[in-house]
Symmetry: C2
Subunit: 203 residues, 2 copies
DNA sequence: TGTACATCAGTGAACGCGCGTTCACTGATGTAC
DNA sequence: TGTACATCAGTGAACGCGCGTTCACTGATGTAC
């Protein structure tokens, strides 16, 4: 943090922090390289010592986000064991917690114009995150009689959609869109859904 | 449409159409007044004869969107009667249809930085749209025994969240995020949810 | 039907600004001996 | 420990560009008589 003087010492990370804050505030299209540089106390040209340009900053934020996200979901899944149900619900809570704690990353990941296939590293990180979600769903799916079991990828897509919807509609500006907290909303929504699958007793 | 010459004839609508296309392509922060003017074949200054400026264009797109959206949902609800369940499912399909058919409007409504309280007209249109959703939910809610009935506003928030999530994650770039169509995904997701509430027989 | 005039809906030039990116540069740091 | 030099990580000026907005203007349309 200190290291006052000509050399910053940790400019790469400082730029990423600035970028994340700006992405959170203005969205990925409103984000500017120059403003991030200014926020980090440095000339715009200095950014090019650490990143390939504006787009690369956003892509790197997304990649970092997917890595953290996958780690977090994996951890929640692991520590939620041995019950598949408990593990699944833990990943749901982890999803929302991540979105709230790292809004800049979340936005770069899901609301940016950056293609997930921009770099192999980004694609790999995104695939890993998705795989964790699907694993948790597949795992829980085994407790449903095969004939009434939906494909695990559909199951996980449903949960993902509801989670994302709650984040976007109710967790962003906490403004009074709903009288319920996002956490309550997501937990109750997932609960009803799981009951619909016969994974929770009907009350 | 014709009316070649100095006066455009229907510039206000032409500008809105151009703006909607651009918002769809670049998002509300990437959208520029100048480009919309150019697309409509007119000087940027001409825009000010019809709108108060850049923000006003976006806000007006959102307002128009909420009006259309509310009308559409109301119509789906009405024609889905007399069964509350059929009416409810019709509104779900209408939601997705609207998002697909009017992406510019949808984005202006739900992904823009414009506050819904920017003008009374915008706030009113948004409130009306929300009210239709909640009415459909409340209506269907009556078929659930009171002691296991969630608040209608929570019910509708769940459905809204899942719908929005499906739109954002799976209906935008139809790119292979999922092997299922958004329509199938949403319909099956809502089906499972309603089963969880005991509104559909458990198969 | 014709003319004078008001109103309307555009133009085009100008403004100040911030953008992303490049370039030659220079000050600070690290290394070889 | 001291010195010469290479490398690194910044600067600052410049570029061309497109932005939103304003202003005086002008061509087209509508209206009164």
């Amino acid at each position: 943090m200190p290291k006052r003087g000509y050399h910053h010492g940790n400019l790469r990370q400082a730029l990423m922090d600035a970028a994340l804050t700006l992405i959170e505030e203005k969205g990925p299209t409103g984000f500017t390289l120059s403003e991030a540089a200014k926020k980090a106390g440095v000339t715009p040209a200095a950014v090019y010592r650490h990143y390939d340009g504006r787009e690369d900053l956003i892509a790197e934020a997304a990649r970092q986000g997917f890595e953290m996200f996958a780690d977090l979901m994996q951890y929640a899944y692991d520590t939620g064991q041995p019950s598949a149900l408990a593990a699944f619900e833990a990943t749901g809570r982890a999803y929302l917690a991540f979105a709230r704690k790292h809004p800049g990353h979340y936005i770069a990941m899901f609301e940016s114009s950056i293609s997930v296939n921009r770099t192999p590293e980004l694609a790999a990180a995104a695939a890993r995150a998705k795989a964790v979600l699907e694993m948790a769903a597949a795992d829980l799916s085994k407790h449903i009689p095969p004939e009434k079991r939906p494909p695990a990828s559909m199951f996980s897509a449903h949960i993902w959609a509801m989670s994302h919807g709650v984040v976007e509609l109710f967790a962003r500006n906490n403004g009074g869109a709903s009288p319920f907290s996002p956490e309550d909303l997501l937990e109750s929504g997932i609960g009803i859904y799981l009951r619909g699958l016969g994974l929770i007793a009907p009350d």
